[in-house]
Point group: C2
Chain length 246, copies 2
């Protein structure tokens, strides 16, 4: 048995998220079907991040085990013929048997894109909040998240496991359409990025947005945080692994 | 009778271009239908640029005559409820009776977007030519177009009227996904921007890309120019009018 790693990008607009579900079009489902056709065997893949309906990925990573004798470098071009336009396998390679796209990940980088004005070409991948965006105040709000914190305030209810996250980077940068939040952490809670964006916008016009964000964080209460920003702005950009396993 | 101006943006991916055609989904057709519903009268609109199938617009301008008594400022919000997600009317306003979106235009700005690498989120609005892009050489190629020239070499065959164009700006800039050509001229020939892009890529690796482009231009022969770049990279960004008519 070999272990293979796929680097995957998709436009999530027409998918019911990553995770396979009966009768629904999901990225995992479409990928497994294409792999099945190319490898002539049923495979079950593991994704590093289970993105939601309407969310995107440019740097999703998936792993699977297979008996195939195909050279890894020929798998991505072969998959291309079996994949729709909204999913791309950027690369396929052999990795060590211990590699698991989800469990081996040390961290992930998500981007959330805001539009400063309506833009019909970018609205599939960004959200227009219909209010003026203040980059300095938004930056001061999210910077309060950097470090190791209990992020329960930003977790959708019903999650299990630790709510402690080490946030390595929380910062906005300009992009084509407006502002983009880059969030890098070792661990993300369900809806965390979208809740951080909703909260940053909520506290943006407070007297001290950084202090307001810190106070939401310290409350550990979802009720103190802002609304969940819509899915189309979110994109899983990158997954980090220890150098020895990739 | 009033004359009204609409500022329009659309994602051209799912349209058979601007111009109304029986049984095909076109931007003009969809807009006229929505106007009909809002104004309760059939209207015929004129667009500043007749974009092709798959081409986009962020700054298309349309004009029409109407007997409606609706205040202009209420038309865009009302149209919104009758328009699909891929067409937006950004503004509607009263203009002088002499205003004609097409004939009154002094110039237009088109952008053509190239991707430096595959990007599933941007491929609806940009073209990935699958070769390394050299910004300096591409810039020197297109700069040769600035000024007043007979641009017949870049015109699809079968066009009529003058092939003389005053090119006010021809320059690449960086954007999110790679490089974007901005072309501003008083007059564009059919397929001109897409042929300029195909030619710029063709001459990019010649010894002197600017001289090669100038020689294609001077030939006035479509056969000397490069292939037509695909439609999805093209976007009508802006239309210029004399200050007194808008």
């Amino acid at each position: 048995m070999r272990t293979l790693r796929l680097d995957v990008a998709y436009d999530g607009t027409e998918f019911h998220g990553w995770q396979i579900q009966p009768k629904l079009r999901t990225v995992q489902g479409v990928l497994e079907e294409a792999l099945n056709a190319v490898l002539n065997e049923p495979v079950r893949i593991t994704g590093a991040g289970r993105t939601d309906t309407g969310c995107h990925a440019r740097g999703q990573v998936a792993s699977f085990s297979s008996d195939t004798r195909l050279p890894a470098r020929s798998i991505a071009p072969m998959l291309r013929r079996h994949l729709p336009d909204d999913v791309q396998v950027l690369a396929a390679r052999d990795v060590g048997a211990e590699f698991d796209a989800r469990r081996s990940a040390l961290g992930r980088r998500y981007a959330y894109r805001l539009l400063g004005r309506r833009d019909v070409l970018l609205e599939r991948m960004a959200w227009h909040p219909r209010r003026p965006l203040d980059p300095v105040r938004l930056e001061s709000a999210v910077r309060a998240l950097e470090g190791e914190h209990d992020c329960a305030a930003f977790a959708a209810s019903g999650g299990s496991g630790t709510t402690c996250c080490r946030v390595m980077r929380a910062s906005w940068q300009r992009w084509e359409g407006g502002l983009q939040l880059d969030l890098v952490a070792d661990h993300f809670l369900y809806h965390m990025v979208r809740n951080v964006v909703g909260t940053a916008l909520m506290v943006m016009n407070r007297q001290d947005p950084g202090a307001a964000m810190a106070s939401v964080l310290a409350s550990r209460s979802r009720g103190q945080a802002g609304p969940t920003a819509p899915p189309q702005g979110l994109c899983l950009e990158q997954v980090f692994y220890p150098a020895e396993v990739v």
